[in-house]
Symmetry: C2
Subunit: 400 residues, 2 copies
């Protein structure tokens, strides 16, 4: 057997198709502008068009000048971990944790990547559709065998199907609220999933990146509050505080052996998270008053955008789906607008191309796994109400 | 065969013995203070007691308010990469690179870790003594078989021995100036090492963390300037600008395939380096005037400390070594002060314990591999001249 020149796990990492879509949108955008004088509506973006709240920027600047520029403590600064524990109590109703349950990470990304690495080479499952980064990055890098458990067409869970798969795997990946569907898993669903994992000796990796972006008074339920030992939760400040470029997150688990291993992994990879940024993160999480103000304003705006886009889709024949309760995505199914007989890449990109031609950018469903390839993801994280309305008008002309 | 519950590569990562030493020094420090009213002299510290220069702190604050808080570009911001390329030209005399040769990383740490991962499971070699983090963290995490190539007693290179080992390995790790010896490898040595690597189809991982901490007008020679395709250099801002807690570094290689894989690895692990910090790093590297001022002052102080400590050791019988040209460590051999017949851990920690009892903290040689176990590392990165002199006085009482 020929030996690989390099580690095949790195060689197998794929560039996100969303990055390729962004590049195509950039190029097509120039052409579209020349032809029509108008801009493409960027529903493909996952970036948030809010600034990081001032109180957090000020905390970072203060920490820089305060001399918090020395090596970080292994696993995270005391101040940061305390803020995380307080936040988990206040917002997630999670009790009984101490500093050894928390690991500071570079975004939710590093928390997820380290957890996948912990299960290197094993069988892992998650619901489909699934966040593209899981499929393109974590799965190949950790060399796991990933089983997609498809949600129903209305994004509900087939628990029998789930249980069959849980008999075979070491880890289950759950993302709630979910990218790309916007589905907020209910307390009952999360509890049942966690219990099934426990029953079959499966660890549950709970990706709670969008926990604060929930609408209509609904609330996110973290499986951490169940007090099971098999739950590993990944959190990030990226979406909550519009801090995508700060790269701040944390991993929380009641299983201290796992937390210890994740500290070692984090130290080995990066020697820890930038010290002064942990102080800014602590302020972000701890200052309940400023937090409510900033997050409240953002979620109110996202809620309006969701409503505008959702109402827009109601005017398009053949598109029917329930309004999602979280995150900043809609994931409608376009089956009725795809010509019969189309298959493969041609089918998968048919709607995407048609939309892009008319100045509407979105992400095709096959970026999120092998089910739901007739769906398309629309993000409203970086578009105004005016852009949404204009996008809907353009779509109404395509799909009559 | 029983299946591992978790990834054994993470389970095999060891906590740095230097962390354990720090903890012991902290505890003993309290006792020592109670007994003598004095403090332990912290020669064990790798931390730098300078503040990050103001021009860099200002650049970070400006970038935070400038809105550079969105997702970083894959592999690094254009502004950062340009600054790296300029710095490589200006300081390292390295020409002919473009942005695709550079990857932004979380400190030198992530550049080294990713490179070790690229050679996962293969044979790797490096000189002994070697930085403890290589042995305790990178080697187990990347599951490489690491061969120590011992330097001679005077830290010179046995090239025949090196060449024999290079016939067997895929990667060679070089650290110049070197931790723990302070050895600055000469241009001739670096060139010969790189050529031997090239001859035997071995990649050279060049850890240049201490490149700017060189004394007496000597200068660091980067193998990158050789224009070979087999060289991967890891740089960090940590030591140069007293930015250990900022976690900023970069990987540079003429091999664009490797750079591409490292970008994918970096993206998968962390989604890239904090955007606004890359702008601060660019300013650190680009502002030649402020750089010279800040680094010049720091190196002048380190030079004085090195001289004071070196002159101190001259007064201790049985300690003989050449004054090193770089980094901030001395690594004297204490063989003559170790009782005959002592072996194993008892021998390895004999001098360390004796020193600590008398209020001198340092790191024993076995932290740096299996050769040089009678040596002890003294860092002068975090001690004043007064502390050095006091430490020398204490040692003179022990070793008569």
């Amino acid at each position: 057997m020929a030996e690989n020149k390099f580690n095949y796990c790195i060689e197998n990492i794929r560039m996100s198709p969303i990055v390729m879509i962004s590049e195509e949108v950039r190029i097509k955008g120039v052409e579209f502008k020349e032809k029509t004088g108008k801009s493409i509506i960027p529903f493909q973006r996952g970036e948030i068009d809010f600034a990081t709240p001032e109180y957090i920027r000020n905390a970072a600047k203060k920490a820089i000048d305060g001399g918090f520029t020395k090596y970080p403590k292994s696993g995270g600064e005391k101040r940061f971990k305390e803020a995380v524990i307080n936040k988990l109590k206040r917002y997630n109703k999670v009790e009984g944790l101490d500093e050894d349950n928390v690991v500071a990470t570079y975004g939710g990304q590093e928390a997820l990547e380290l957890t996948f690495q912990l299960f290197h080479g094993k069988k892992v499952a998650g619901f489909a559709p699934a966040w593209s980064c899981v499929l393109e990055n974590f799965v190949p890098y950790a060399d796991v065998d990933f089983i997609e458990v498809p949600l129903e067409k209305d994004f509900s869970v087939d628990f029998d199907r789930l249980e069959e798969v849980l008999k075979e795997v070491a880890l289950f990946y759950l993302n709630t609220p979910q990218n790309p569907t916007g589905k907020l898993f209910s307390k009952d669903e999360v509890t049942k999933i966690a219990q099934l994992c426990l029953k079959h000796d499966v660890f549950l990796l709970s990706d709670e990146a969008y926990e604060r972006i929930v609408f209509d008074g609904k609330s996110h339920f973290s499986p951490l509050s169940l007090e099971y030992d098999n739950i590993i939760s990944a959190f990030t400040l990226s979406k909550t505080y519009s801090m995508t470029g700060w790269r701040l997150g944390y991993l929380v688990t009641r299983n201290k052996e796992i937390a210890r291993l994740m500290r070692l992994g984090n130290y080995t990879q990066t020697a820890g998270v930038t010290t002064f940024l942990q102080y800014a993160a602590a302020e972000a999480l701890d200052n309940a008053e400023e937090d409510e103000k900033a997050v409240g304003a953002m979620v109110a705006e996202f809620s309006k955008r969701r409503d505008a886009l959702y109402e827009g889709f109601k005017q398009i024949p053949g598109i029917n789906f329930d309004k999602p309760d979280g995150a900043f995505y809609l994931f409608p199914n376009f089956s009725e607008h795809i010509p019969a007989g189309l298959t493969g890449v041609e089918r998968n990109t048919y709607i995407y191309k048609k939309l892009l031609e008319e100045g509407v950018a979105a992400v095709y469903g096959s970026c999120f796994g092998s089910h739901f390839v007739d769906n398309v993801r629309f993000s409203f994280s970086g578009v105004t109400i005016e852009q949404i309305n204009e996008g809907v008008e353009r779509m109404k002309k395509i799909f009559k």
